[in-house]
C-alpha cells in the first residue's frame, strides 16, 4: 500500500505497510489535514498519485474511493443527526448493501436479506464498542466521547482495508485516550486493518504507531520508528522553535 508524492503539499511521499498503524504528525499548518483529504478524495491533488494496494485512487470520486476500501472519521465528527446511533452505523454499511430505488420501494427479497446483513453487522459493532444501550438514541442526546465511538463503529461497518482517523483523541480525557489506544490496536491486530492516524496527542501516537511520518510546511521532515522520530533534531525544531 503506498501513497506516492501527494502534491498540493510539496512533494510528499510515503508508504504505509499493510496491517500497520502509521502516525502522521506535524505542527499547525503542516499540511496533515490536506494530506488526509487528498487520500479520501475531499481535495484533488494537483500532481502525484495515491494508490491503495496497487490500485490508483487519484481522480476517483469520493464515494468510489470509499467503495475501494478507504474508511475515515472526522475531526469534528460528521454523524447524521436525524438518525439514531444504530442507523448511523448502518449507513456505514451502505456499500455492502444491494438494491436500487425500485427494488427498495417494493422491498424485494434480496433487499430484505441485504438489510438484515447490514443490521447484523451494525449490531455486532454496537456491541463491540459498548453502544448497545444507546443504539436507539438520537445523536444529539449523547456525550462527545460516545459519539467518537459511534463514528469509529460507522467507519468499520463499511469493511475498510485502510482506515484514516482524523484526530480521534481530540476532546477526550486521559482514560478515554487509553481506551481508544486499545481499540485502535485491536483494529490492526484482530481486524487486520491498516490505520493512518493524524493526531496531535503525541503520547497516543508514539505509543501505538508502528511508524511515524512528520510533516512541516507541507514537506516531509522525518519518517521512521517513533523512538527515532522524537529525538530527530529537525522534529524538535519544528515543534519547539529554534534554540537561540
Amino acid at each position: 500500500m503506498r501513497f506516492g508524492g501527494i502534491t498540493a503539499l510539496d512533494d510528499v511521499s510515503f508508504a504505509v505497510e499493510r496491517g500497520t498503524i502509521c502516525g502522521l504528525i506535524g505542527p499547525n499548518g503542516a499540511g496533515k489535514t490536506t494530506c488526509f483529504n487528498c487520500i479520501s478524495g475531499v481535495y484533488q491533488s494537483s500532481a502525484g498519485t495515491v494508490a491503495l494496494a496497487g490500485r490508483q485512487l487519484t481522480g476517483m470520486k469520493r464515494h468510489a474511493i470509499a467503495r475501494a476500501g478507504v474508511g475515515r472519521t472526522f475531526q469534528n465528527l460528521a454523524l447524521f443527526p436525524s438518525m439514531t446511533v444504530r442507523q448511523n452505523v448502518m449507513v456505514g454499511g451502505h456499500a455492502s448493501g444491494r438494491g436500487g430505488f425500485l427494488a427498495s420501494m417494493f422491498k424485494l427479497p434480496d433487499v430484505r436479506r441485504s438489510e438484515a446483513e447490514i443490521e447484523a453487522r451494525a449490531e455486532a459493532l454496537l456491541k463491540r464498542f459498548g453502544l448497545g444501550q444507546v443504539a436507539a438514541a438520537r445523536i444529539d442526546s449523547l456525550p462527545f466521547p460516545t459519539l467518537k465511538r459511534v463514528e469509529l463503529a460507522r467507519a468499520l461497518a463499511g469493511f475498510p482495508s485502510l482506515l484514516i482517523l482524523d484526530e480521534p483523541a481530540a476532546g477526550l480525557t486521559h482514560e478515554e485516550v487509553d481506551e481508544l489506544a486499545t481499540q485502535i490496536q485491536r483494529l490492526r491486530d484482530e481486524d487486520g486493518i491498516t490505520v493512518l492516524l493524524v493526531e496531535h496527542h503525541m503520547n497516543l501516537v508514539m505509543r501505538i504507531s508502528d511508524r511515524v511520518v512528520v510533516l512541516n510546511f507541507g514537506r516531509k521532515i522525518a519518517d521512521g520508528l517513533p523512538a527515532h522520530v522524537r529525538t530527530d533534531p529537525a522534529v524538535m525544531t519544528a515543534y519547539l522553535g529554534d534554540d537561540k
Partner: protein, 238 residues
C-alpha cells in the same frame, strides 16, 4: 506587581466538546505571560474563553479585580483588553486606515482616533506607507503588524496575542518579537502571549503556563520553564 488578569478553574466547551478542563492563569500588571502547549491543547480556546466568543465557559475570570465572566466581547474591549486573534483577523477588504479606524471603534471622539493612528504609525511606519492599500494585499508580517496596531488603538491595558509567528519567515518573526518588546515598554501594556514557538515565547515572557489537553501542567517563571523537561514531554511525547 498585582494581578491584572486572573483565570481560576476555567472550563470551556465547543458545543458538546469540552476543550478546557481546568485553567488557572495570571497576567501581572505590566508583565508578559506566555501560554504554551502542543496543538489542540486549548491555547486559542483559552483566549476565546476570556473573550467570550465561540465557546461556553465556566469558572472565574477577572480583570482588574472585576469579574468579566458575563460580559460580551464588545464590552470587554471597552474595559481595556485588546485581542490579536489567530490568523490575524484583519478586515481584508478594507484599507489599512479603515482597519485602524475600526480598532478605534470604542474611542469616543474623532480626534482620539486620529491621535491613536499617529501613535500606531509611529510604531509601525510601514503601515503609514501602506495606508490606502487593502489589508488583504499586505504581506503576512505587515498584516500581523496591522493586527497588533489595531488592537493597540484604544490604548488597552492588556493585549491577548494569538500565535504572532504563525506562517511567517524566521526573520520576520524576530522582527515582530523585537517590536513586541519595544511596545511593551513604550505602551506599558501587559501581554498574554500564545505561541507555538516555545523558545521564542519564553525569551520574551516573565511567566509561563504550560497546558496539555485543556489542563495546566505547569505554571512557573519563564526562566524555570526553559530548563524544564516537561515541555519536551508534552510536545514530543517523550
Amino acid at each position: 506587581m498585582s494581578a491584572l488578569l486572573e483565570l481560576q478553574g476555567v472550563k470551556a466547551w465547543y458545543g458538546a466538546v469540552q476543550a478546557l478542563r481546568a485553567i488557572d492563569l495570571v497576567v501581572e500588571e505590566g508583565g508578559v505571560t506566555t501560554l504554551i502547549g502542543a496543538n489542540g491543547a486549548g491555547k486559542t480556546t483559552t483566549l476565546r474563553a476570556i473573550y467570550n466568543v465561540l465557546v461556553r465557559r465556566e469558572g472565574s475570570i477577572s480583570f482588574n479585580g472585576r469579574s468579566i465572566l458575563g460580559m460580551s466581547a464588545n464590552d470587554i474591549v471597552r474595559l481595556g483588553i485588546g485581542h490579536v486573534p489567530d490568523g490575524r483577523g484583519t478586515f481584508s477588504r478594507l484599507s489599512v486606515e479603515q482597519n485602524l479606524q475600526l480598532g478605534g471603534h470604542v474611542l469616543r471622539s474623532r480626534k482620539a482616533v486620529q491621535e491613536g493612528m499617529r501613535r500606531i504609525y509611529g510604531l509601525f511606519p510601514i503601515l503609514q506607507e501602506r495606508r490606502l492599500q487593502q489589508a488583504g494585499t499586505l504581506s503576512g508580517g505587515e498584516q500581523q503588524m496591522l493586527a497588533i496596531g489595531r488592537a493597540l488603538m484604544p490604548r488597552p491595558k492588556l493585549i491577548l496575542l494569538d500565535e504572532p509567528s504563525f506562517g511567517l519567515a524566521p526573520l520576520i518573526v524576530t522582527g515582530i518579537f523585537d517590536t513586541l518588546r519595544q511596545i511593551r515598554h513604550q505602551e506599558g501594556v501587559s501581554v498574554l502571549l500564545v505561541e507555538q514557538n516555545v523558545n521564542l515565547a519564553l525569551a520574551l515572557a516573565d511567566q509561563a503556563c504550560l497546558i496539555e489537553s485543556g489542563r495546566v501542567v505547569k505554571n512557573c517563571s519563564a526562566e524555570t520553564m526553559r530548563n524544564d523537561d516537561t515541555v519536551k514531554h508534552v510536545y514530543l511525547g517523550i
